[in-house]
Symmetry: C2
Subunit: 312 residues, 2 copies
């Protein structure tokens, strides 16, 4: 009933076409990253939200725009994360240099502009402007917090909201905007996307510390090594000042990572993180009550609730 195979196939075709360029290095980067698949979580959110409202015009363009903004951020993020791999592949910039990575990201942003112009809806352009602003601010803030060791739960909330949740909120709010849906429905979908996005990022951060390299597709503890204070370290910090020291030294000493993992398990901080993720996911599911019942609403509900399970 909620099979997205057909729209996702059209999505992949349209995406490949959209990122065509007669510049070889741009094609290579995009083959590598953009059109190499991925879970397409954001396009799925667009299609489910659209269908939960009976189908929105320009849902494909919206899905493309949301994914392009996400992909451009990944390309610009490669510089920061210094992650060995992303989606299990060699980070693009290692092959062709930082410059090509950043500029290929800019190319994607130009295509995003093209695809939202197609919808003819200036309000959507304005919403993308807001989200792109918040997103870049969130990314810089994350860097700033690590540099200034300005660790706090308040900053953490701000970062996960800005760098992940607002784009997901636009993915689910967007179809309501395009349909001109009543404000209650539009707000409910915005709220769903925001809460789902927060739960999603919290789970991501949880797994980065508590997961396995097999599940992650990259080494565990990357956030610690970049001085990023995520939920569990923040919960631990008050009782265990040593965790702050581990972050400060970017987990450089032998046993640092294992020590934080052990503390997380023993102190109950890991469990507390799971509880908070579930809370957020359930609030997301709750927000959907304002929508008419449908298999698509149900699929959105399940998507959110799954975030709380995936930490196991």
């Amino acid at each position: 009933m909620t099979d997205l195979e057909a729209p996702l196939r059209r999505f992949e075709e349209a995406l490949s076409e959209l990122v065509q360029s007669d510049v070889l290095f741009i094609r290579l980067i995009h083959q590598d990253l953009v059109t190499a698949g991925g879970k397409r979580i954001r396009p799925r959110l667009v299609f489910l939200a659209s269908r939960a409202l009976g189908g929105a015009p320009f849902e494909l363009e919206l899905a493309l725009a949301v994914e392009l903004l996400h992909s451009a951020t990944l390309l610009h993020d490669d510089l920061i994360d210094d992650a060995e791999t992303r989606r299990g592949r060699e980070a693009a910039f290692r092959k062709y240099g930082n410059a090509v990575s950043v500029l290929s990201g800019d190319f994607l942003l130009s295509r995003l502009l093209h695809v939202i112009a197609k919808t003819g809806r200036m309000e959507l352009v304005e919403r993308f402007a807001e989200v792109a602003k918040t997103l870049s601010e969130g990314e810089v803030l994350q860097f700033q917090v690590a540099a200034l060791e300005d660790y706090s739960l308040e900053n953490y909330e701000r970062i996960i909201t800005a760098k992940t949740a607002v784009l997901m909120a636009l993915a689910t709010e967007g179809p309501a905007l395009l349909l001109g849906a009543e404000s209650g429905v539009r707000e409910a979908l915005y709220r769903y996307g925001l809460l789902y996005g927060q739960a999603f990022q919290m789970r991501d951060d949880y797994l980065d510390l508590m997961g396995t390299p097999e599940v992650l597709g990259k080494p565990v503890g990357g956030d610690l090594r970049e001085g990023k204070a995520t939920l569990i370290p923040l919960l631990l910090m008050e009782r265990y000042p040593e965790v702050r020291e581990v972050l400060r030294r970017r987990a450089r000493e032998a046993g640092d990572l294992e020590r934080v993992r052990a503390l997380a398990r023993e102190s109950g901080a890991a469990e507390e993180a799971v509880r908070r993720i579930r809370e957020r996911a359930e609030a997301a599911a709750q927000a959907l009550e304002a929508l008419p019942p449908s298999p698509f609403r149900e699929a959105l509900r399940e998507l959110a609730l799954k975030e709380a399970e995936r930490v196991r």
Copy 2:
């Protein structure tokens, strides 16, 4: 008569306001680069073209958008150029890291989106999408040509057009678009901006090789050291295969730079470059004939013709 002091002052105020952020590191970058002045050549082009047509609506927003795209490119370009200084200041990324530089550039792009949305003109959004696409392709192509040693005058034309001229063409065409001017006028202003932009970049490249550190505000020969084949080396290459070798080894050997400069003077290649810049500048001036005579048309004309003089 063509005094731009008032609009340029409004421009500086509006720009400062537009790039406000409550993220400290973003403010620092922007103080450093965006609001630190610069010659504002692109906003000047917008204001002159607008006034040559009797004044276009949203000329300020257009000027801001054009400058934001240029500034974002500078920030993303810092990674590539590895220039010791830019506008005589320490390159922003050296202070706060590559990541902050790139993401602050993204922040500027989000403000660009915001400011063009204000005009309510979707055609302008579409034109910015095209120009941003071409611009990023031009920057990547420049990198690709250096990496693959794919030196040719054809690639050089493509690069200077894509990375510099198309944005200047939008700066001068934009007011005609916003006014709904007749197509002959719009095309003439596009053509002026394109030819002026090419002459401008050719002069920039000329000075990078033949200028002095005092005029440049940075060491001479930066393009050679980055393997960028600009006009003079390309003109020299056929007769002097050693110039290709200098580019290949990024001018690393003692005397490389001086040797190319001497060849440029002695062979007449420098003179030939000046001749080509003048040709382009004169063609730009010529394109303005389609506009009604006015002091602003005259100012645009003089601006172009000055490019040919500044190489001395």
